[in-house]
Amino acid sequence: MSVLTTTSVRRVTRQKRLFVGMIITAVVVALAIVGPWIAPYGENEIVGKPFTHSGSFLGTDYLGQDVLTRVLAGGRSILVISVLATLLGMVGGILIGVVAAYVGGWFDEVVMRLNDVALAFPQILLALLVLSSVEQPKWWMIVLLVGASHAPRVARLARGVALGLVSRDFVASAEALGESRIRVVIAEVLPNMNAPLLAEAGLRLTYSIGMVAGLGFLGFSTDPGAADWGLMINENRLGLLVLPWGVLAPVIVIGVFTIGTNLMADGITQLAEKGDDS
């Protein structure tokens, strides 16, 4: 009631941010999904000399493959792996954080200190360590590693949010009624964490993409011959000065996609704030 006019202005900008983010994300995802079918050439088809303007308008890469085709074909794996890794990290982190907050006491203390140890370990280092020790990285390994590196970060946030909720009277009320502990967590605590967790998921997705692309760049992709945005940047960096599109095109899609997911995360946070003061 207090700021009626300003909220109506703000409401539009808030939803605009979410809206734009959603559109950008949807476009990139759609591109990655239908890309392979609308690509003008085959994924591994040699269309001309390396780093020349043969093929479609983005030219050719270091092997003479069409850059546009590779960009269109190279999104699927990175997106699928990122989304799965984000999901894994979120579920794992929420579980750890909420249970720690709800149980409390020494259990909380032990779990969260261990979590701090995990947090102190550099995300990418763990992934590199494991991936470099196996012959051929499988896609699920990357999912697992990226997911595992997210979990402690999500756990911290989830615990923080949940701590503010478990002390609320409606949780006490459910306890007094004798609700089962699992139901208290699932029905009373979790639904009230939607907004911050959704925002966190958006942010985590952004990081996942960066990390998966980074691993690809460093050569740890599932299939070395297949198109992959991260790998493409590495493959074509020699031709950066001759024909930059081989590097720029995947960088731009990754960049645009991260901006999209980030805007979405922001939008959700703001929407949640608005919900709170209504």
Binding site: M1, T6, A176, G178, N192
Partner: protein, 601 residues
């Protein structure tokens, strides 16, 4: 600096300190008024009480006196005359100069008004320094004198303290001293004692009263608490939905209230000396933009006729200096405060004890907070646990409700000893003892619909399922005076009073024998409190439910409880039937508590 232009038309001693005329504050860009047609005169040395329930616009009027309106609202028209200057037409620099110096403001929450990182002494002289009043030593002297006036120590040690090193009452008195320091002509106090214990409140009010009289300061005391007003104000203005509906001398207003709203408010207030059948006001206070045409109270008014909805009534004279905004003041007859009087519960009534607390010691960690408490509760009886903050009253109730586990002693329920935590109790025990929380804004899950909330205990205890459960929910909501329209709503669509009704309905859904009510009306307006008490009384009589009623409000105890336990510092000070304890208190603590409790009788 303090360039008060001498008023030539009227002698300065007789003129009002401040007069408000035709004040209208509206929401920015929407033309909806928050308050309108506010007419008020403050004489020097006079305390005027501005009373209203939440949403009535009383704070808006208070801050408008300082030429301030909160974000999203603006002062549309009107005059606030200070001598011959109009505060509202001054430039912002002049208004700034005026604030604090000629019109001072004491906020509701003093803790947020004092800067936690600045020592008390510095904060006190800050305004004087800012205006360059006096020399360093003079300022220091004035600060010390100011502290002495409000009854605080004024040695160096005290001046060196930070706000967190003071108690709530001390902080509020520092705020008072600060407000009086530049010798203002007008003082606006916005609920300065809400959140303080009654004894502290009594002290702060006394101080304020003395200072206003001795310095000839005109004070506007903004509050929702009529009982406080009855003790300190010379004149009272009652606000409803953005209008002053009645204005008059204190005695006239409390003895012969003319406006139906004032009467309804008085009917909702419990008295210390006599039990009363409290009644609420139906409906809820409409916010800006939802206020009805015509008389703004007509849709909730017992005396309303068609004509009331047509045009907004003027202020009519009831008696000299006593006006009311009602067209029917001559038709609705006299009002008698004693109409609501009911009988105290008979102290010799036979009791069938259902719940007994024996030798209760409660701990938080290793700290003992409740010492050796004994009391019992009979069937369809209401026992009140009364005490100031920190007395352990809520802690005891939480132990009974199974929400706190760290205690020794015994709580017997129908002769069986209850387990400590709710989880270790049987379903039967959990079902039969229900707990209602103080703050309905925290005790209902904001993600659930009302239906889900009220239905849950039925499912849990196997009382009803599916269609039958929904029917019962509707029944229960009807009992707590909520329609089936709220079934699918989430709690954020309801007002505080409505939320508390949902919480009561949830407790009733379990078909309990004992209700533990933890300050369940303290977050609510008096008219809502009246309605809730009315509801609980009805339930107690019709269903034979026993109630353990935790409160700090002794007047409320008189009207609702049969027996009372007075607590202080975790120990039972005095207990017995309400009539005996309140009419013939045996302990000094009880007497002091009774003496400090504000009441309108």
């Amino acid at each position: 600096m303090t360039s008060v232009a001498p008023d030539e038309t009227t002698p300065a001693t007789n003129g009002p300190a401040c007069s408000v005329d035709g004040l209208r504050v509206a929401l920015t860009g929407r033309g909806i008024d928050v308050v309108d047609e506010i007419q008020l005169v403050l004489e020097p040395g006079e305390v005027v009480g501005l009373v209203g329930e939440s949403g009535s616009g009383k704070t808006t009027v208070g801050t408008a006196l300082l030429g301030y309106s909160r974000l999203g609202a603006f002062i549309e028209r009107g005059h606030v005359m200070l001598g011959d200057r109009d505060v509202l037409s001054l430039g912002w620099k002049d208004v700034r100069q005026l604030r604090g110096e000629e019109i001072a403001y004491v906020p509701q929450d003093p803790a947020s008004a004092l800067n936690p990182t600045i020592r008390i002494g510095r904060q006190l002289v800050e305004l004087l320094e800012l205006r360059d009043i006096g020399t360093g030593t003079e300022r220091d002297e004035r600060a010390r004198a100011g502290l002495a006036e409000v009854g605080l120590p004024n040695d160096d040690e005290f001046l060196q303290r930070y706000p967190h090193q003071l108690s709530g009452g001390q902080v509020q008195r520092v705020a008072l001293a600060m407000a009086f320091l530049p010798r203002p002509k007008v003082l606006v106090l916005d609920e300065p004692t809400t959140g303080l214990d009654v004894t502290t409140q009594g002290m702060v009010l006394d101080t304020m009263n003395q200072l206003c009289r001795s310095h000839q300061v005109a004070a506007l005391y903004v509050t929702h608490d009529l009982a406080v007003i009855a003790n300190i104000a010379d004149r009272v203005a009652v606000m409803y939905a953005g209008r002053i509906v009645e204005l008059g001398p204190r005695e006239a207003l409390f003895d012969e209230p003319a406006h139906p709203y004032t009467r309804a408010l008085l009917d909702a207030i419990p008295h210390l000396k006599q039990a009363r059948a409290l009644s609420g006001i139906p409906g809820r206070t409409p916010g800006p933009g939802r206020r009805p045409e015509g008389c703004r109270f007509h849709d909730r008014c017992a005396y309303a006729i068609d004509r009331c909805a047509e045009a907004e009534p003027e202020l009519y004279d009831v008696a000299p200096g006593h006006t009311a905004r009602c067209i029917r003041i001559d038709e609705i007859g006299r009002w008698d405060i004693n109409l609501g009087t009911s009988h105290d519960t008979d102290p010799d009534k036979s009791r069938d004890v259902i719940l007994a607390v024996r030798d209760l010691d409660v701990f938080y960690g290793h700290k003992q907070v409740v010492h050796d408490v004994d009391f019992d509760l009979a069937r369809s009886e209401c026992v009140a646990l009364v005490g100031e903050s920190g007395s352990g009253k809520t802690t005891i109730s939480r132990c009974v409700g199974g929400l706190h586990r760290n205690w020794t002693g015994a709580i017997d329920f129908e002769g069986r000893e209850l387990a400590r935590g709710a989880r270790r109790r049987s379903d039967e025990d959990r079902k039969r003892i229900q707990y209602i929380f103080q703050n309905p804004y925290l005790s209902l899950n904001p993600r659930m619909t009302i239906e889900q909330i009220v239905k849950r205990p039925m499912k849990l205890f196997g009382i009803a399922k599916g269609r039958e459960a929904t029917d019962r929910v509707v029944d229960l909501l009807e009992q707590v005076a909520l329609g089936p329209g709220v079934l699918k709503l989430q709690t954020n669509r309801l007002s505080g009073g409505e939320r508390q009704r949902v919480a009561i309905a949830r407790a009733l859904a379990a078909e309990p024998d004992v209700l533990v009510c933890d300050e369940i009306t303290s977050a609510l307006d008096v008219s809502v409190q009246g309605a809730i008490v009315e509801l609980l009384e009805g339930l107690r009589n019709s269903r034979g439910i026993s109630m353990l009623f935790v409160t700090h409000n002794l007047a409320l105890v008189r009207s609702i409880a049969a027996r009372v336990q007075i607590l202080s510092g975790g120990r039972l000070v005095e207990s017995g039937p309400v009539v005996e304890v309140m009419d013939r208190p045996r302990k000094d603590y009880t007497r002091e508590l009774l003496a400090n409790s504000p009441s309108i009788d």
